[in-house]
């Protein structure tokens, strides 16, 4: 069996996506923590295009971009599948996975901006969460149906990172009971053993987010 290496960074939800999937499939791997403020030669060599984590290296061959990595892992280790067999259902799962990517700029803006720009981001973020809840999740327990699938993994950051982000920014996106189904999904997702055992420490994450938030506010108002 060829060796598997994952280049990741502890605060990154993208990194965790790959960890979750590797663990769900019982794939042994070596984890390499990258310092994103001082990227290693290894990372720059393995991902010269974007210079980002996560990067999966299998038998010396690198794969970059988290969703590309997830599809690769799914195909290479088919046990505990994340995608259904039916092509239409697969297309739907891929659609929602892609949709998550589409929402990134809004949530980045929410976290990084202040004033009017942030207000706009808050409004947009809530609309996106509404679409995710009503059209993506619907009445299902998970995006993948009865079991977690690719889209659940892609939206996993909402379960593990959003609350902390809201705390660091001081603005709630998922207020009270406005998103009951998404809220239920968060609880169900975090209850999955592999997920439960592989989430960043809340306090560490909060400290990290607060620090980053200070930095963004600083540069936004200077």
């Amino acid at each position: 069996m060829e060796d598997v290496k994952l280049l990741g960074a502890w605060p990154s939800s993208f990194s965790y996506r790959v960890i979750w999937v590797l663990k769900l499939k019982g794939v042994k791997y070596e984890y390499v923590e990258e310092n994103l403020f001082n990227k290693s030669d290894l990372l720059l060599r393995y991902n010269p295009i974007y210079k980002k984590i996560p990067v999966l290296v299998h038998g010396g061959k690198p794969i970059a971009e988290s969703i590309v990595i997830l599809e690769y892992v799914e195909e290479t280790w088919p046990q505990n599948p994340l995608l259904p067999k039916d092509p239409y259902e697969r297309a739907v799962a891929r659609f929602w996975t892609k949709f998550e990517e589409h929402t990134s700029p809004t949530f980045f803006s929410f976290f990084q901006s202040v004033g009017e720009e942030q207000e706009r981001a808050v409004k947009e973020a809530k609309e996106l969460l509404r679409i995710i809840e009503e059209q993506g999740l619907g009445e299902k327990k998970f995006f993948g149906g009865e079991e977690i699938g690719l889209a659940d993994i892609a939206f996993g950051w909402i379960a593990g990172w959003l609350r902390t982000m809201e705390e660091a920014v001081g603005v709630k996106l998922m207020e009270d009971d406005r998103f009951p189904r998404l809220q239920a999904w968060i609880e169900n997702f975090k209850a999955v053993p592999v997920i439960k055992e592989n989430l960043p420490d809340h306090n560490e994450m909060l400290a990290y987010f607060k620090q980053r938030r200070e930095m963004f506010i600083g540069s936004a108002t200077s």
């Binding site: 794969i63 971009e65 990595i69 297309a91």
Partner: protein
């Protein structure tokens, strides 16, 4: 542009389909119903079920009609590379490309430089291969080809033999509009939007 990808894929598989032209300034109820999230084309409707997002549609077509002209390779690592580069086309070529003709002056110069860098990267990835897919026309070729018709308008690529090779394929040439038409269209658009 993205609709062309689907047309090429359908043609590659030799499939018959009904084509509905959408007026994007006056979207039909069918479009709004089948793509409520983005309200965009292309949408493929197969046996009454809608599939959205051009690359997802192409992958769907490749999976359902898997015996005819496969677009994705069978090896998982090669597939990962194909997906990576198709995604690169979306992230970089598309995003930068549309900014090239929407900006002017110094900003346009900077973006054009970045855009050309991306095309160089793609050229590097193509290397000596006939197609991005290797010996056979594949997923990344489908992803990138529609942008070729915009290259003439940017006057950026003179010697792009890969594109000429793709254009020789019936499935491609019958799916793409004439690039001179596109150039005229862009000039009109610029005028209408006050971008000189």
């Amino acid at each position: 542009m993205f609709g062309m990808r689907v047309r090429i894929a359908l043609a590659e598989k030799g499939l018959k389909y009904e084509q509905r032209e959408e007026d994007l300034r006056n979207k039909s109820p069918l479009l709004l119903e089948t793509n409520p999230v983005h309200k965009k084309i292309p949408v493929l409707i197969h046996n009454g079920k809608p599939i959205c997002e051009s690359l997802i549609i192409v992958e769907y077509i490749d999976e359902v009609w898997k015996d005819e002209s496969p677009l994705l390779p069978s090896d998982p690592y090669q597939r990962a590379q194909a997906r990576f580069w198709a995604d690169y086309v979306d992230k970089k070529v598309f995003t930068l490309g549309r900014m090239v003709w929407r900006t002017k002056g110094e900003e346009q110069e900077t973006i054009t430089k970045e855009y050309l860098e991306c095309l160089k990267v793609l050229e590097g990835e193509l290397g000596d291969k006939s197609y991005f897919g290797g010996e056979k026309f594949g997923f990344v070729d489908v992803a990138l080809m529609p942008f070729y018709i915009w290259f003439y308008a940017y006057e950026t690529l003179g010697n792009f033999t890969w594109a000429k090779r793709c254009m020789e394929k019936e499935s491609v040439s019958s799916s793409l509009p004439d690039r001179h038409q596109v150039y005229e269209f862009l000039l009109e658009f610029k005028k209408l939007n006050g971008i000189e």
